[in-house]
Amino acid sequence: VDIFLKYQEELDLKHEKQERLVKLSRDVTIQSKKVIFQIHRHFDEKEDAGENKNEDILREAQQKLDFIRSSLIRKITEEIQFEDVGKFHKSYSSGIQEYLEAVMFLYYKKNGRLVSFAEVQKDLIYSNDEASSSDKNYLKFPLSVTDYVLSIADLTGELMRQAVTVVSNGNTTLPFLILHFLRDVQTFFLGLKSTGNYSCKKELSQKLSTLNECVTKVERVCFHIRL
């Protein structure tokens, strides 16, 4: 029976770590959603609201994302640094996806294109200030390609909402840009499907069908502009 005491300890440690990660992940989700709403508010303004004000809002959003990264996600990274990749993935992936969506949304707003996987991953490498681990002077969050891809699908929902909003403010250019971008994403997802039995088949299929709906909605918007 003694051996079960060891098992007890191992199970308890795992459950506790899961619990902490789930909590951190939830915080990441909440904070990231706030950033997304903030950017949306920005689009609610008239296009000519003044460059300065817009820049302020974007800068603020960027600061919040920096904070999420340097505090919450860093804590997650520390929790899992000595763990097998994937062991706790389920506990934190929903938060990470929301974070990625916010990053992508802001980046699109600033640069009009998609942020690359490498760029997002680069931001999630931390210098390690703990003396103990002298052999490795940095900490790296193990970003999953699947999370990155699923976040792209979520991003399209935000952009669709944006297209609908700006048109009622008289902006008739942006919806066409967004439509173009969404179609690229659509083609990419269709391409993924035809490379075969890709991972996370079911999730991707769901996302693809909501993506198709988003495209259709933006098409309606563009149709009414054109008429």
Partner: protein
């Protein structure tokens, strides 16, 4: 013993299913590439549609070849035993072929050729058997795609296409209403045909206004 015979049957059955699955997976990949190819119609001006249709033909050749492999695996009389394996992909391919036919008739102006028959689809598939319901579901997928195309044609400035689509969709609707559909998949999809028709009507209406 009885069971060693049963075991052999099971092994053979298992191998047959694996073989079918493997070909069907290839088919799915090809059909996915077809869908991707034809998804471009929403961004392609009317003048370039003929080319788009033409360049899909190698993919259709692949489909034909893969279906021919499939035919080689299915024992005679067992089409319906494994029907569920390829039903979906065949519906999608049938949809693609009927979309191609519609687009070509739209370009050439021969409206009588807009609706492809089941026999003709089956011929394009190299004679592979096509269940009637699968063909019809393919047509209903087509009307959904066309309702979207009617919107995008306006964006591209092709104001004639929505009118062609409306006439085609109306023809299909009256055709489907002739059938006494039961409460099954076909019936449910038919209900969405009404919705698609309504959307095309609204597009034509908006253009009139």
């Amino acid at each position: 013993s009885i069971f060693s015979g049963v075991r052999d049957s099971f092994l053979q059955e298992h191998q047959k299913k694996e073989a079918i699955r493997s070909v069907v997976q290839q088919l799915e990949n090809t059909s996915c590439r077809l869908v991707t190819h034809f998804s471009l119609i929403h961004q392609t001006p009317h003048s370039k549609l003929a080319e788009l249709c033409k360049s899909s033909e190698p993919l259709l050749k692949d489909v034909e070849q893969q279906l021919s492999s499939l035919s080689g695996i299915i024992p005679p009389n067992h089409y319906y035993k494994y029907h569920d394996h390829w039903k979906c992909v065949l519906q999608r391919v049938s949809f693609m072929i009927s979309l191609k036919a519609f687009l070509e008739s739209s370009v050439s102006g021969k409206t009588s050729e807009a609706l492809v028959t089941r026999e003709s689809v089956s011929a394009t598939l190299g004679g592979f058997q096509l269940d009637l319901e699968d063909y019809l579901i393919g047509l209903l997928m087509l009307t959904k795609e066309l309702s979207r195309l009617s919107v995008n044609s306006v964006i591209l400035g092709d104001y004639n296409v929505p009118v062609q689509i409306l006439s085609f969709v109306n023809e299909l609707s009256s055709g489907f209403r002739l059938l006494n559909l039961k409460n099954d998949t076909l019936r449910r999809r038919f209900d969405s045909l009404k919705y698609d028709t309504k959307k095309v009507e609204e597009v034509v209406y908006d253009m009139k206004i």
